[in-house]
């Protein structure tokens, strides 16, 4: 079930009514939590109930390991239980998400030396299993709980059903945000009071999320696909179709893709935030106007911040973080981003993308002390202009990374870079069915214009709920305009890109 479908609307209305009705019954919290757990399983099982088994395994393993780690006191057994949890969780993830990737890479490497190696690998070696929706999100969330218990940052949860709800809470089950147990579990164990402000915030986030997903993301998508094609099947049927695009078109499409995936994912996360808020639960903000970042480090604080936080807490810092010298710091940084890339998908293009990000941030970190500071004497408009240019450059560079992220394979990435680097760019003509560069760029800009205004307000006021501090008529106008775009121009039922991760 996806948020941007009619069936979710019916599902959520039923859940909402029953959920708040239960709050007044004796034992209301318990009943609410049991009902939410049931609803979360229905939500996930709607896609394929069979894969609830995997969620149950993850839930059971981490629930037991948490208890056993806590009971083990000091010593080696604690560590054994922790590693057992990590091994089982990563094992599940490895089989379902990465096995074919590693097997394929191994076979390719072997064939580079001996073309006849593994002649029947395609039929005998690969698993070709379904990638369970949201597996990376719930596995990371559940695994982080065990690590937090091991670190004694939180006590082990004794109530299995409450723990199961923490793992499967439907608003954030399939695409995050990846919540910390220390943030979410206490909320689930505390009676939730119906609060109008939560309802108001929830409706705003849902409205905003639907605007991002159904209008911006899903209307940019077809434009981006003119350069990046409609899918892997189209690419594999005719790999030559990706070659020979205009350099400017590739650049615009890549930046367009950065906006598409931002709105696709942030839209879904914001709807999750809103849905949870309507149920009286506060989730972590996953995206905060990343296009207004002035450097890559800031970008990663604003982009998918819950994953960034996870990787920092459970990979970067345990590796030593920045504590053991400059080179170790950059090694750790690159490792962390290598894993971030791999988390996104089982393809070398994602690994390259992660490394691109790692090198970019490392480069920025190395040079930032030497970069000239903006003179305070400069007039405000000039300072604003320079900041704007920095933002455009940072998000533009992030967009260029789509040439890895969105590419179907390394060869595709190569073709895109080749197009971008062939100078001079032909700006005047239509190339491979894509409009002349400036017209194509203008089409993309049209789709993001309103988004930029809304995000600018958020960024300027540093408040996601800025709208509620505006005049009533402006609020009414913004609600109406967003609703107009959703109903009149939105696409419904389209998959969320991050489901595949």
């Amino acid at each position: 079930m996806v948020f941007n479908s009619f069936i979710f609307l019916i599902f959520f209305v039923i859940v909402y009514v029953v959920y708040w009705s239960l709050s007044r019954a004796p034992g209301g919290l318990r009943l609410q939590n049991r009902f939410l757990l049931f609803a979360s399983y229905v939500f996930y099982g709607w896609w394929d109930w069979f894969f609830l088994i995997l969620i149950l395994i993850s839930t059971l393993v981490d629930y037991l390991m948490g208890l056993w780690i806590e009971a083990a006191g000091e010593g080696r057994r604690r560590r054994v239980f922790l590693w057992a949890s990590v091994a089982i969780n990563l094992g599940i993830l490895g089989v379902f998400k990465y096995f074919d990737f590693f097997a394929g890479s191994f076979v390719s490497a072997a064939r580079a030396f001996d073309p006849g190696a593994f002649p029947d690998a395609e039929s005998s070696l690969f698993l070709r299993v379904i990638l369970p929706v949201g597996i990376s999100f719930y596995t990371f969330q559940s695994m982080a709980y065990t690590i937090d218990v091991y670190r004694r940052q939180i006590p082990a949860e004794r109530n299995f059903l409450d723990f199961a709800l923490f793992v499967t809470f439907f608003p954030q089950l399939v695409a995050g945000p990846i919540e910390r147990a220390g943030d979410l579990l206490p909320q689930l164990k505390t009676p939730r009071k119906f609060n109008w402000d939560d309802q108001r915030n929830g409706v705003w986030f849902i409205l905003l999320g639907f605007f991002l997903k159904t209008y911006v993301a899903d209307s940019i998508g077809p434009l981006v696909n003119q350069v990046y094609l409609n899918g892997a099947a189209e690419y594999h049927a005719n790999p030559a179709a990706v070659a020979g695009h205009g350099g400017a078109q590739v650049l615009f499409a890549s930046i367009g893709f950065a906006f598409q995936i931002y709105c696709d994912f942030a839209g879904y996360s914001t709807i999750a935030l809103g849905s949870a808020s309507l149920l009286g639960v506060r989730l972590t903000m996953n995206f905060e106007t990343p296009q207004f970042s002035q450097n890559p480090a800031e970008l990663w604080r604003r982009w998918h911040s819950t994953l960034n936080r996870w990787v920092t807490d459970y990979v970067y810092i345990p590796l030593g973080g920045s504590r053991y010298g400059v080179w170790n710091k950059y090694r750790n940084l690159l490792l962390a981003f290598f894993l971030t890339g791999l988390w996104h998908g089982a393809n070398w293009t994602f690994v390259l993308w992660g490394l691109f990000m790692g090198f970019w941030i490392a480069g920025y970190d190395l040079t930032r002390a030497r970069l000239p500071k903006m003179p305070e004497a400069w007039p405000t408009w000039l300072q604003g202009g320079v900041r704007g240019l920095k933002m455009a450059a940072v998000f533009g560079a992030f967009g260029i990374s789509a040439t890895f992220f969105r590419a179907y394979d390394i060869q595709h990435s190569y073709e895109l870079w080749k197009s971008m680097l062939s100078m001079p760019w032909n700006l005047a003509d239509e190339i491979r069915g894509v409009k002349p560069a400036l017209l194509y760029g203008f089409d993309l800009f049209q789709k993001i214009g309103l988004l930029m205004v809304l995000d600018y307000m958020w960024h300027r006021k540093n408040d996601a709920l800025w709208i509620f501090k505006q005049h009533m008529l402006l609020r009414a106008a913004v609600y109406s305009i967003l609703f107009y775009f959703i109903i009149f121009k939105g696409s419904f039922g389209k998959e969320v890109i991050y489901f595949a991760f």
């Binding site: 009619f6 069936i7 109930w49 069979f50 299993v129 379904i130 009533m472 009414a476 109406s480 009149f488």
Partner: protein, 429 residues
Amino acid sequence: MRNWIQTSAAFVRRYPAAWICVGIFAAVELFARIAPVEYGMGAAVFLTKHRRDLVDASGPDFDYIIFGESRSLSLLGHAPTGPENWSVYNLSLPAMGSRYYSYYLEKYLANRYNKPSALIFAGDMAVFQEGWNLPLHDPARIYTDSREDTLLQYLSHRIVRRPAQGLSPPPAAANAPQEAIWETYSHRYLFLFSPAELMHQFHGAERLFVLREAAPLQYYTFRYRDALRYFLSNPFPQAAEPLPAECRLCANSYAPMCRPDLTQFQDNAALAAGLDARYGQINLGDRLTLEQVMSYSVIRDRLVKDTQDFFNRIRPDLRPLIALLETARRAGVPVVLAPTPTVREYRDTRFYKEIEAQLPGILARYPEAHRIDFAEPHLPAERFVDQIHYDCAGAEQVNADFYRTVMPQVLRVAPPAQGRRLRALDSEL
């Protein structure tokens, strides 16, 4: 209850901006419900809505109605004028599959005082292909044995049969064609029938699927969003100039003066005027541009060969025809099968041979049904613009054949009761 009302009133007072927004969209919804906004929709939706309005109306009662598909839309209707005081109205709809025919007839008869003297089924028999008759919610039939499966059966199959599939991806490819057809053409079903009618037509899990698809369209702002958007950018649409008389000639089909650049509103207005004047007829082949026709003609041989191969692969499923004959029998309406001429090369394909083999048996069970063939039941590929629709000359030839060969026989096997009544009234006066 009182508490709830007080809380709601407090909410209204507290969030006036939200209520202004709700007010604006309530006004838009009202507009979408009372104004003829369908004139801003695409021609396909407009045609369906035009048909629905006609079929739902309590009159006029036609002596003969034509059902079919996009090609049979080319058949001219007949106004009850002069000595031939009987009427024919072409109610064909393009790309609707075949399951809807019996419900379409029920819908037409529901509001009519006089039933038609005959229903002329002029659709291509290709509408009765197996693939168009699969359960909409599960075209690959993984969890559905038949369309009559109950919801409980479907759900239990989903649970019981799922483990057998293991961890391999489902056969998505098998679903794809049917899903694509639904994706492309479902609006016709959903715009033609009300949810109550769809509820009656579908069963089990399929009913749930169709109602789920229909439900969002009950919000008319969403249903007619394309039209509302159109009227927002063109708030004062102008009527188009009438076409010169020369444009009725096939020779001028693609002359620039006969191909004015029409807005959506003008196009639909012209379409409605044409449908009303020609009793439901429109030759879809004439709507193609010269460029489209030229490109089809370049690949004509290849298209014919591919379509031949297709007809050699697919199998017929005549259950929807039997359902139509049953409905017609219950209503006391004779049926005349008069399929419009197809491309000559398709005649000997397996599909059409199987149809020809099965039809006599079916017709024997329904003696009130008749088969009347066109004098030329097949035409050369050159008479079609895209292997489906006639070019202007093809449509003229088929219409001449229809009124020269088919209609006289129809009038003989199913005389126009209403026309007779009208003539009797005339003589009394």
